[in-house]
């Protein structure tokens, strides 16, 4: 296990949280009703808080790494903000699912549900990581993710099993998003040695529980999952869909234009 593989893994976990947190925050002030606007904004805050834990940890690891092999050599004392605002799309290690556009409310809650169901199982296992900081972040965040999972799952059922219109739109959202769920269970090269040494989660072990939860909720929602569909991947290696570039352009603009700016 090299220093680089654990840094990539921490960034992968942090990028998932930041990118989905940012996507959700795009709804703030635009939610269908006030209470749900607040709910999704709270979920966004939880995720951005998680991202900060990971970036703080990653920057400590990077700053402690040897000069020659150190990533992001341009920054002498790397901070969480540099990791969030000064990396480009190919440096981001998030899954493709989280960067997909919000679309309508139904697509947003379905994206959240697929992700929260995965994060719930992932953190449940990561609590026992041999890396004590990853274990602490997972244990801390798991309670929050439980709320995210119940909230998003209820919305998927409510809309899937709602009116003809809402059902049609959920089917459409499922068609848009299902192809990005396969990647959640494909380990990246940096992840494999970490899973063997008990630092990262072996994704194969959490897949059955995810399948079960997703199957239950989709069935209650009257939605049929696609079998044998082509699964798109690449995000964990930095190969992203077009959507991420636009997201970063907006999220990073201020720090790119005025580096280190504070208010």
């Amino acid at each position: 296990m090299s220093d680089q593989s654990i840094i990539d893994y921490i960034l992968h976990l942090g990028d998932n949280a930041l990118v989905l947190g940012h996507r959700n925050s795009e709804w703030t002030g635009h939610g269908p009703i006030l209470e749900q606007d607040i709910a999704l904004s709270n979920i966004a805050l939880d995720l951005i808080g998680q991202a900060r834990y990971y970036y703080q940890y990653a920057s400590r690891c990077i700053n402690a790494a040897d000069g020659a092999s150190r990533p992001f050599p341009g920054h002498e004392a790397l901070t969480e903000d540099v990791l969030a605002y000064h990396r480009d799309a190919w440096d981001f290690r998030n899954c493709l699912l989280v960067e997909q556009s919000n679309g309508h409310w139904g697509k947003t809650v379905l994206r959240q549900f697929f992700f929260s169901a995965w994060q719930f199982e992932l953190y449940g296992a990561l609590r026992h990581s041999r890396d004590s900081q990853l274990a602490a972040i997972a244990a801390k965040s798991l309670k929050e993710v439980t709320y995210h999972l119940r909230w998003s799952g209820e919305w998927v059922i409510r809309l899937g099993d709602g009116t003809e219109e809402s059902h049609t739109r959920m089917e459409e959202a499922l068609g848009d998003l299902w192809k990005y769920t396969g990647e959640l269970f494909v380990p990246a090269d940096y992840e494999k040695p970490l899973a063997l040494s008990g630092v990262a989660v072996d994704l194969a072990t959490i897949r059955p529980a995810w399948e079960l939860k997703v199957g239950e909720v989709l069935e209650a929602a009257g939605l049929e999952r696609k079998e044998g569909e082509w699964m798109q991947k690449g995000g964990k290696q930095g190969k992203h869909t077009e959507a991420l570039g636009y997201l970063l352009a907006e999220m990073q603009f201020l720090q790119r234009a005025y580096p280190g700016c504070e208010w």
Binding site: N42, Y53, A136, R150
Partner: protein, 176 residues
Amino acid sequence: MANTVTDNTTIQELWTLLGEVNDPEVPVLSVVDLGIVRDIRIVKDSPGSANGTPEIVITPTYSGCPAMDMIRANIRMHLLEKGFSDVRIETVLSPAWTTDWMSEAGKQKLEAYGIAPPMPTQTVCRLEMFSREEAIQCPHCHSYHTTMISEFGSTACKALYRCEDCKEPFDYFKCH
């Protein structure tokens, strides 16, 4: 003159001082009532030295709580006012914060302020869809005839409720 940090009296004094630092979002609760302050120790300047630096160990409530940076700043400012010019604040994540750590005095202050305190028995979020926590008592008229409006309220730590008897909306500081 800066306070000299020497012994257990100082640690007791620091606990009392932190009891005067309030949470910015729920200003009736101090950071001690909330259970955010986990430990206070004195780090000796050198082995055997009489002098040392206070180290305050805190833990965040929710990961995304935007008040944490302000809480750190408020702790530093208050201790500075009281003569502790050099204070270290360390943030730990483990063990994860729980509303079980909220003091009894804190729970009473919350209720008097109009926020329903966390249930005495921990009833955290269950996974079954549409499952709901036990009835929460209205902090205004004490009725149990209440309905949850949203499990996410004005801050991450609260849920939004309505009393069906006195018809008032209220915040519930949810178990965590």
